[in-house]
Amino acid sequence: MKGRLIKAYHGFGLPRLIISIFLLALIIVAAGTELRVAGLLSDALVRIGQNGIYVLAMVPSIQAGAGLNFGLPLGVIAGMVGVLVAMENSLLGFAGFAVALLVAIPLGVIAGYLYSLLLNRVAGQEMMVGTYVGFSVVAGMCIFWLMAPFRNPALIWPVGGQGLRVTLTLADTFGGTLNNFLSFKMFGFAVPTGLLLFYALLAFLLWLFLRSKPGVAMEVVGRNPRFAVASGLNINAYRSVGITLSTVLAAIGYVVYAQSFGFAQLYNGPLMTAFPAVAAVLIGGASTREAKVRHAIIGVVLFQTLLTVAMPVTNQLIEGNISEIARVIVSNGMILYALTRVTGGEQA
């Protein structure tokens, strides 16, 4: 019995244990205080759906052997352009959402493919190169947003007539469209059905892909490239598939995020998007070399619930907005833990 407990402990992982216990404690405290647990729960559901796709995006990148996708901002920016096109044309509701996706996805494919060409040449240093390529592109896009050919007065600076503003609202276009679709209230908390259904759909499609012949091939390439070569697989091609898929998911993820959050934050907004997503998939049980769809789901549920519940609870004890800092500490702490583990087969 003791042996099995120890085995289960190792399988679960110390950080996940800590976070789960912490979360449980917070929920208990929350229930004990004056806070509306129901309200917290609906917030958590929204945040899960809102951020979940970013975490899904990590899975194909890891499985293809390219590690954690720190270059997520590339896909996010593709999504941003899609959202902006829809907003520029003042498209409402599902029309706006659909057009945003229609623009974002092809852009995501192009960006992802180009990015994969780069990553294929830097095997072993993908995470570091990806981070700074992501940062560079975000900084470069800042220049683009300033000079872009957008004309809709709702988007641009009133003075000067050119250049997008920093924060744009989606309230009058397609903000909330997906969230409110088929949504309902239950026991006092609201369920954003459309959002969660869409997330579930994407998770299912990803899962399906990983069970298909190309998906299996991609996983083999990630797990043992030399075996893959001996089995006649083109390593670079499958890595590209994984990285491109990851980028496209990030693009879609942004469109969903923007409509849920209600605001588009340009310029330095996407800079650190990758980090919480990376942390979430790690919390869910993935490693730098292995990730399953269920890891992404468990991770985002744990992580986002933790953040949602943590803030109002800690507000009772310590004044101030601790949510952002908590996110930074938890995310980076988790990533640090994952980076310092020597997984089997890695050289010193």
Partner: protein, 359 residues
Amino acid sequence: MNQVKRIVSRNAVPILFAIVCLLGVYYAQMPGQFLLMVIVKRMARNSFLVLSLIIPVVAGMGLNFGIVLGALAGQIALILSTHWEWAGIGGLALTALLATPMAVLFGVLAGMVLNKAKGREMITGMVMGFFANGVYQFIFLFLVGTLIPFDNPALRISTSPGLRNTVNLSRLRGALDNIWTVQYGFTKIPIVTFLVIALLALAIWAFFKTKLGQDFRAVGQDRHISSVAGIQTDRNRVLAIVFSTVLAAWGQIIFLQNIGTLNTYNSHEQVGTFAIAALLIGGASVTRATIGQALTGAFLFHLLFVVSPSAGQAIFGSAQVGEYFRVFVAYGIIAISLALHAWRGKSLAKASMEEDVSA
């Protein structure tokens, strides 16, 4: 002619940036005196930090993205010294002394973590920096004044927890710079500061002539061979990070005494990125960094930094573009260097293959 070709190809990056800077200077149309003044000021306050990056590169730890930890140690010391109202050069020296044990501790921790992530030092250092920053913010934004009693009106706002956003370093401002200055037109050259920088450069140069320095160089080239030869590679790596962290702490103190105000939560944020970008612009790489490259890079980077907004205004009609451009350059040069580093590793292996197969 061949000689010239070789010099150009070996120093391609700084030469390229020199050209870009010249263009920037031309378009910015800033008065020469003003430019000189700003550059001297920036070199004085940033060179120390850039120099502190050299040792880890030589020791094989790559670019020390965790330099932020040293900056934090320096800042904590400054917060305390402001609280205790230390002043003048004596106060500054004491502050540096106060920062040192903290920096050593941070360096040891960082070095140990990095030893557990061999082959991934840079990204681990980067994440460590973010993590440390988060903890720092947590302590100084929330715990100070609440769980940690601290009641200094100069540092705290009584109504909310944590330290103020900006702390005035009036007693220490210019403590190093102003000891001896030479006026040249509009420019006030802080001689002692530059002497300190020169001293550091000298110390680094001399260090690599010692046994320990030689050991660092060996470990930087090949951990396995060094270890077989009996060198304690893990210990040396930690030591390299400790040196870098302590120097970063002192460097941050020098930086802040020049600026005169401490942005409690932001001053250190871009420390890593800008210092590393500067080093790389000077022609350094992940595996090779010299004093000349550090100083050249610091000069070029800050020159570009200064002229970008005005050049942007002149070329694109928007100073903002210039500002974004310089950030883009910083990130971009790092991305390129990292990519080249990874690619070179692979292509070296490939090259040796091809020449043997044809043998």
